[in-house]
Each structure stands twice: as structure tokens, then as C-alpha cells.
């Protein structure tokens, strides 16, 4: 029996000018005591001991603080196995949990001068760059869905959304974006 082409097939989403579905990625949830984060970070070439609600970048990888004992590790789709083995080596002896969630969620880029306003249709956080500066990230809600929101720069955001909520989240974004293009 021939292998099926192992191309990843993301869920269907609602189209809208400001919203772009980002290519498939490798994702891991790393959980454990703060004490493991130093070594783990070094192994991946970025800092995992960042302050609360901040992301850190390192080469092809990035890491998002989701909670005091929880990080979301993002990398290129092909890097999943390597991430696991690198962490496996340095963390062998330390209690921790590493779980591959590459397919659990999808990523959106929402960009443009209107980005924050569009998100404000469903996200109750203060998205003024003063209050939510580039580099900040957090789990939060968009209307009735949970999302991970990460501001890349003043007018572009990175969203992580559980795949079955992708249609809904993109739908809300589309409706909000559409509303902004109206007269008056």
C-alpha cells in the first residue's frame, strides 16, 4: 500500500483581506517547573525564562509564555522531531512534560493598520501598543473562542487557534473587517 502524500491539510476558514492562514508549523507544549526552563531554552537556542506574557525568538524557533509552567514552542513544520530530541536530552532527569500539538491548532496572521480594531470586535483586552506591546502574547478569548494572541509589531498579530475553532474565529474576523470597510 503506497504512502499517502504526507501534506498537511489545514481546516477551511473564512477569507478576509487582513487575515492570512500561516503555513503548518511544529508545535510543542512544554510544561514543568521554572527550573527546567533555563536548560530547555539553551537547548533550543532561545530563552524560555521570559517574563509573564512575553514571547521570545531564536532563529527558526519561537516560544510563547502561556503560564508560569507552560510554554508554547513554535518551529518550522520539519523541526518537530528535532525539538523533541533536543529537549529529551537536556531534560531527561528533570520532571517535565513535552507534548506535540503541531496539529492541534492553526495560526493566523492578522495585519494592517486596522488589525487591532478588528480584533477589538471580539477580544476584550486593551490592544493599544502601550498596553499590549509587540512581543506580548497571551491566551485570551475572541468572542466565544479561546485564542493565543501574540503581537508581532504595532499592526500585525499572530493568532493560534484550535483547529475546530478556526472557521469560527476567521468568521468573526471577517465580519468585523467587513464592518470596518463600510461608509460612515
Amino acid at each position: 500500500m503506497a504512502d499517502i502524500p504526507a501534506t498537511r491539510r489545514p481546516p477551511a476558514i473564512a477569507a478576509s483581506p487582513l487575515l492570512r492562514l500561516l503555513p503548518p508549523a511544529a508545535r510543542h507544549i512544554l510544561r514543568g517547573a521554572p527550573t527546567i526552563m533555563g536548560a530547555a531554552g539553551e537547548a533550543l537556542g532561545l530563552s524560555l525564562s521570559m517574563p509573564a506574557c512575553r514571547a521570545s525568538l531564536g532563529g527558526v524557533r519561537s516560544a510563547l509564555w502561556l503560564g508560569p509552567d507552560e510554554r508554547l514552542l513554535l518551529g518550522e513544520a520539519s523541526s518537530a522531531a528535532e525539538t523533541a530530541s533536543r529537549l529529551g536530552q537536556v531534560l531527561q532527569q528533570q520532571p517535565h512534560s513535552l507534548v506535540d500539538v503541531s496539529h492541534r491548532q492553526v495560526a493566523f496572521a492578522i495585519a494592517g493598520p486596522q488589525a487591532a480594531t478588528v480584533l477589538a470586535a471580539g477580544c476584550p483586552l486593551d490592544l493599544d501598543p502601550g498596553a499590549f506591546p509587540p512581543g506580548m502574547c497571551t491566551r485570551t478569548v475572541l468572542a466565544k473562542a479561546e485564542i493565543v494572541l501574540w503581537r508581532r509589531d504595532d499592526d500585525s498579530f499572530h493568532l493560534e487557534v484550535w483547529r475546530s475553532f478556526a472557521a469560527y474565529v476567521s468568521g468573526v474576523i471577517a465580519a468585523a473587517a467587513r464592518e470596518l470597510t463600510e461608509p460612515g
Binding site: A52, P68, E70, P124, L125, R139, T140, E146
Partner: protein, 92 residues
């Protein structure tokens, strides 16, 4: 919609949280040893304080942590929020 200060993430909208009921009701280490009335008290009886009371919240759609809060149930204003394991501020 309340504004709740998560000890880890700061002030956040209530929509991100789940309410966890009265705080500081510890589950007995050996429930088998607990008498019928005491067990019922643990399961069901609540102070339901009118005034300042200690309650649990979880920053479910945030950092995911449970924490405790002192809130005045006659105004819904928070006096303080603090981490699990810490005593309520102003008390030893």
C-alpha cells in the same frame, strides 16, 4: 464584566476566568476518616458571606492558574488577589 487581577498576568476581563467557589476549603488528606456531617460540610456547606469573602478563580483563558481573591460581595470590588498556598492578605 468584572476586571480581575491575575497574580501572574495582571488585570484581565472576567471573560477569561472561571469562578471556583469559596476558597480555603481543603480536602481532607484522609477522607475516609472524616465524619458524615463534616464531609457533607466540605461538599456542600458554604459561608455565602455578605461582605468580604475569599473565593477561588481560575485564569482559564489566560495562564490557566487557580488563585484566590478577596472580594466584597456587597459591591463586587476586589480587595486583593493572591496565589494558591498564600494566606489571605491581612491575615497570618
Amino acid at each position: 464584566m468584572l476586571l480581575i487581577t491575575c497574580p501572574y498576568c495582571g488585570a484581565r476581563p472576567e471573560l477569561e476566568f472561571t469562578h471556583g467557589g469559596q476558597a480555603h476549603l481543603a480536602r481532607a488528606r484522609d477522607p475516609a476518616a472524616v465524619g458524615a456531617q463534616d464531609w457533607a460540610d466540605f461538599l456542600y456547606m458554604r459561608d455565602n458571606t455578605r461582605g468580604v469573602h475569599a473565593e477561588r478563580w481560575r485564569h482559564t483563558h489566560g495562564c490557566g492558574r487557580f488563585f484566590n481573591a478577596l472580594r466584597d460581595t456587597t459591591s463586587d470590588h476586589f480587595i486583593a488577589t493572591y496565589r494558591v498556598g498564600e494566606p489571605p492578605p491581612g491575615q497570618p
